[in-house]
């Protein structure tokens, strides 16, 4: 039999060439990442080197009396936690000495301790002291859990990450407690609280005495705004997500979901405008009340971190709601039915089973939303202001890291001068913070996706 069709000449090479071409396109992702890191790193290093040339790299004074301060107390608590952790890992038999009463207090006592911890955020002045208290309580519960599992042979692998993390915290707080007067490039940037990169100098191009680069004032405002935003967005967003996935009728969901997506698609500069003309005046009214009652010492300004926190909260609300809803939807229906079949009411099912099952998915959404809030620029620039001074009074204008960058480049910025370099140092810090948040969030998310 003779074939009448002429076969297509099969060229062998193209397939490989296509593969190579496509590989190169995908390599561009690596190039971009390297480009970003290289740019930021390169300019940031130049920045630090320039300061170090005049003020040295890092200096501090040692002051052992600082152990008696709040931070010193925090360091002590960290040490206590570390010891507890170490004993429970390596000298387990000592645990038997601790009485059961201490490890398993009645539930009301536990609950009140948790509540006290949450309230303490507001009351305690030193963040480190609070963090150390939280760590201590966490280790206490961890040890209690280990004690419960004792003898069951389920704690075969020792988890060293907790020990290492506690060790780092201990070292850090001890360092903070016993040293003061940080100087030099790194000491100034990471430990000081005054950000006056322009200074009052005759020649603004080069470094002069009056310039200060304590990025903490920007960082703290950023955190104020980001956590303030979470404070608004998480209860509302998660509540909205739960309502949509557990209670709402399919028709309501089909209306609300696209609306949420629409909200998520509104540009941040529009949110900024919204904050400027609407939220700002409202916050000022609130601030006036606080001022007349003497709760704050200065009259409120229309640009302030609360304004920023609310508007960023509104911005990330759809993100939290939408991702949490997805997480809740991914939980198999059988769990819901199983709980209801035991005679649980809907809210009991939701709070005790569904939330617990979707917890890591919701957590991931919160972490990613936090990263988004930290990196948010335009809305914050328009809402928070341009005064790079951190005050605990949240009714006064301040400046976040992103807003500083946006404001600084807004003017004409000559290449290579110190002001130009500062934005890269700040940008690198910002990049590291958001990147680690994203890595964490995506890791939690993929672990969650694997679970269901």
């Amino acid at each position: 039999m003779k074939k009448s069709l002429k076969p297509v000449a099969q060229k062998r090479a193209p397939a490989d060439r296509v593969r190579l071409l496509l590989f190169i396109t995908s390599l561009s992702v690596i190039f971009i990442t390297l480009g970003i890191i290289q740019t930021l790193l390169f300019e940031a290093i130049t920045f630090f080197r320039e300061i170090a040339g005049v003020r040295g790299w890092f200096s501090f004074e040692f002051d052992p009396k600082g152990v008696m301060s709040q931070t010193g107390l925090g360091a002590f608590l960290f040490m206590l936690a570390l010891m507890m952790e170490w004993i429970s890992e390596h000298r387990r038999h000592y645990l038997a000495i601790i009485s059961e009463q201490i490890l398993f207090p009645p539930s009301w006592a536990l609950r009140s301790i948790y509540a006290l911890l949450i309230i303490a955020v507001v009351v305690v002045n030193s963040m480190l002291l609070w963090a150390s208290t939280v760590a201590l309580v966490a280790v206490w519960r961890r040890v209690a859990k280990k004690h419960m599992l004792r003898g069951t042979g389920n704690i075969d692998q020792t988890d060293r990450s907790v020990t290492i993390a506690l060790g780092c915290c201990l070292f850090f707080s001890l360092f903070i407690a016993t040293t003061e007067h940080y100087g030099g490039a790194f000491g100034e940037f990471f430990f000081q609280n005054q950000w006056t990169p322009a200074g009052a100098c005759a020649d603004r191009r080069s470094l002069c005495e009056n310039m200060n680069f304590g990025v903490n004032s920007l960082l703290l405002t950023t955190l104020q705004v980001a956590f303030g935003a979470l404070f608004f967005a998480v209860p509302l967003g998660v509540g909205c997500a739960i309502y949509l996935s557990e209670y709402a009728s399919p028709r309501l969901v089909s209306v609300v979901k696209p609306t949420l997506e629409l909200l998520a698609g509104i540009p941040s500069v529009v949110y900024g405008f919204f904050a400027f003309i609407y939220i700002g005046p409202l916050v000022v009214e609130l601030g006036e009340v606080a001022y007349t009652n003497g709760w704050i010492d200065q009259p409120p300004n229309i640009l302030n971190p609360i304004n920023g926190a609310i508007v960023v909260g509104v911005m990330i609300l759809p993100l939290v709601a939408s991702m949490s809803e997805d997480a809740l939807r991914a939980v198999p229906n059988e769990l819901r039915e199983g709980s209801l079949a035991l005679g649980a009411t809907r809210i009991e099912t939701t709070l005790r089973v569904m939330l617990q099952a979707a917890l890591s998915g919701i957590l991931a959404s919160i972490i990613l939303a936090l990263s988004r809030a930290v990196g948010e620029t335009m809305a914050v620039t328009l809402a928070v202001g341009t005064v790079a001074v951190y005050t605990s009074n949240m009714f006064l204008p301040a400046q976040t890291m992103t807003a500083y960058i946006a404001q600084r480049v807004g003017g004409d910025l000559p290449f290579g001068e110190i002001g130009y370099l500062t934005i890269f140092a700040v940008g690198l810090y910002l990049f590291i913070i958001t990147l680690s948040l994203n890595l964490l969030g995506n890791k939690v998310l993929s672990a969650y996706r694997e679970a269901y």
Binding site: Q10, P14, R19, L22, F23, S26, L27, S28, V29, I32, T33, I36, T39, P235, L236, G237, C240, I242, Y243, Y247, A248, T259, L262, L263, G265, I266, P267, S268, V269, V270, G272, F273, F274, F276, I277, Y278, V314, A321, T345, R346, I347, E348, T350, L368, R372, G375, E376, T377, M378, T381, A406, V409, F415, G416, G427, L430, F431, T434, N438, N442
Partner: protein, 570 residues
């Protein structure tokens, strides 16, 4: 029978019920609060845009535009050197509804040759501070009002102020206080017969093609064999429409209507002929529907064009806000977002041109070719995490790589090209993720059946996987585009300008032209930063325009997705 378990202390049912009620109510409430924010947002942005007021009147209801000052300026003196009037005297009539009833005052203005000489007029409850003033030529002066009611200003006689470029004889057209008529004015009555004809023809043909009957198709039979002539005539018509209409938006849309009409007409005739060559009659309308090639697609595009052109051709709505450029700092209401709009279009075009091929290529490699090696995993992780990097960091990347000269910088300057490249880099991870999602959703069986007939890997990708993943990829790209369209932060860093008086030049960085450019979000940002309240309502109007643009793009994405899905399923 008594159960063992009933010896335990029971939980109160009433309390559980109360918790249930309260819990579900509070959850619903949190959902409502989210919705409430949307309503407030839109409402608050809409108020300053659509305040009602006529010809220079200020609506007292608009809180965001307190009574502003009227700024006037004449180019030429109306008196000679001796002080005699050369023209009619300039007289303004100023009216308001005061607490003691309606008041009308006249203000006589003498424009002298002494540039810089000026005198501002205070308007208060007692009346005007003076009834006649002398001002220099080309000098701005103010009518300052301290009233809390609207003030209207009309010119009774004399030459019009210089700043009024359109030749409109009323002062009111450029008063600072909220004149909405300037923002959206209806029907400038310049009737373009050609545009109208193009639009109507397309409408009629679309109707015929979507519901063909024998009677409706009968006139088309005459066109058999004249395809070449028809093609020529319609091309000419399209060109004429655009040329005669002086390349305005409506002329452009009219030309587009003609072109689409031509394509649809030729396809229809071709289909009818094919049908008759097969020996079938035109009465078999169902057959005809299948014999016109890509009828669904034609209908989709012409319907979209008809709807969008309907505002500009038959209704002839003129929105100066969209078609005017930025005028100057004293005339917010005469300014528009034309330059910003073109800036956005150019930046988006360059961004998409750069990022789409690369991103889609990367997505294909990652989904179809890559073995799960360490490199692949790294790239995947980078893509996922790059999508979450703050936009301003991309801006700094653009600043160092594209804008600045020296080091690894390309030295494009703060130009559209640099901005487009920066935005393209920013869009990349988003498009890669969306494309990967789309490629992943192509069923395995499709690939296997293609391999089964002996396709090479590239043939499988090119002929089978890509076409069925294309709608997803397109939708993802449009959504990515709409997301970066609203981004202002990277462009602030790259160096978009606050004030652009001319349409931007896309390739200025290479040809050495004017680098200045701006985009709509940047315009909103700078307008919001202005202290003058009138600019805030411009920012509001620009916000509304931006949101509408984004909604339109998202709708197109949705329509395209539906269309392709229908085609794939059928």
């Amino acid at each position: 029978m008594k159960k063992d378990i009933d010896t335990l202390k029971k939980r109160s049912r009433r309390r559980r019920d109360v918790v249930e009620q309260a819990g579900s109510a509070s959850l619903a409430l949190s959902g409502l609060v989210g919705m409430f924010f949307l309503v407030v947002l839109v409402w608050q942005i809409a108020i300053p845009t659509f305040i009602d007021g006529e010809n220079g009147e200020i609506s007292a209801a608009s809180e965001f535009i307190p009574i502003s000052d009227y700024v006037l300026e004449w180019d030429h003196p109306n008196v000679n050197e001796q002080g005699d009037l050369k023209t009619e005297p300039i007289v303004l009539t100023i009216k308001w509804e005061g607490q003691i009833g309606a008041q009308t005052h006249d203000l006589e203005i003498v424009v002298t040759a002494n540039r810089g000489e000026k005198e501002d007029v205070q308007i208060s409850e007692e009346g005007l501070s003076t009834t006649s003033i002398e001002v220099g030529k080309k000098t701005k002066f103010y009518l300052k009002s301290v009233l809390d009611v609207p003030v209207s200003v009309e010119q009774r006689s004399g030459p019009v102020p210089a700043a009024d470029a359109s030749g409109n004889p009323h002062v009111s057209s450029f008063v600072v206080s909220g004149d909405v008529a300037v923002l959206i004015s209806n029907g400038s009555a310049v009737f373009e017969p050609l545009e109208m004809a193009g639009w109507t023809s397309l409408l009629v043909l679309t109707f015929i093609v979507s519901r063909p009957t024998e009677r409706r198709l009968a006139p088309l039979v005459h066109c058999y064999g004249r395809e070449r002539q028809i093609r020529g005539i319609i091309l000419l018509l399209a060109i004429f429409t655009i040329v005669i209409g002086q390349t305005t938006l409506s002329a452009f849309l009219g030309g587009l209507c003609w072109l689409l009409f031509g394509v649809a007409l030729l396809r229809t005739i071709e289909g009818m002929e094919r049908l008759q060559n097969q020996g079938r009659s035109l009465t078999e309308v169902k057959r005809l529907k299948h014999s016109i090639s890509d009828r669904e697609g034609l209908l989709l595009w012409s319907r979209m064009l008809l709807v969008s052109a309907c505002f500009f051709i038959p209704l002839d709505i003129d929105i100066p806000f969209l078609t005017e450029r930025y005028q100057d700092i004293f005339q917010p209401y005469a300014s528009g977002i034309r330059s910003a709009f073109f800036g956005t279009v150019w930046v988006m075009s360059i961004a998409m041109l750069v990022s789409m091929p690369i991103s889609i290529g990367a997505a294909i490699y990652l989904e179809e070719y890559a073995a799960p090696t360490r490199t692949t995993k790294l790239i995947q992780a980078l893509v996922t995490n790059l999508a979450g990097v703050p936009s301003i960091v991309f801006g700094m990347f653009g600043l160092a790589i594209f804008v600045k000269q020296g080091g690894i910088g390309l030295g494009l300057g703060p130009s559209i090209l640099a901005a487009g490249l920066t935005m393209g880099v920013m869009a990349m991870p988003i498009i890669v993720l969306a494309s990967q999602e789309a490629l992943r959703s192509v069923p395995r069986s499709l690939r296997e059946s293609a391999y089964g007939v002996g396709c090479t890997q590239w043939q499988v990708v090119k002929d089978h996987v890509l076409p069925s993943a294309m709608p997803g990829i397109m939708t993802g790209s449009i959504l990515a585009m709409s997301r970066i369209m609203g981004e202002a932060a990277p462009l602030v860093v790259v160096g978009a300008a606050a004030l652009v008086l001319f349409d931007p030049e896309p390739l200025a960085a290479l040809t050495g032209g004017n680098l200045n450019f701006t985009v709509i979000p940047i315009q909103i940002y700078f307008w919001t930063s202005e202290p003058e309240h009138a600019w805030h309502s411009m920012a509001a109007a620009a916000s509304i325009a931006l949101i509408l643009l984004l909604i339109a793009m998202n709708s197109i994405a949705i329509v395209l997705r539906q269309h392709f899905r229908k085609r794939l399923n059928s």
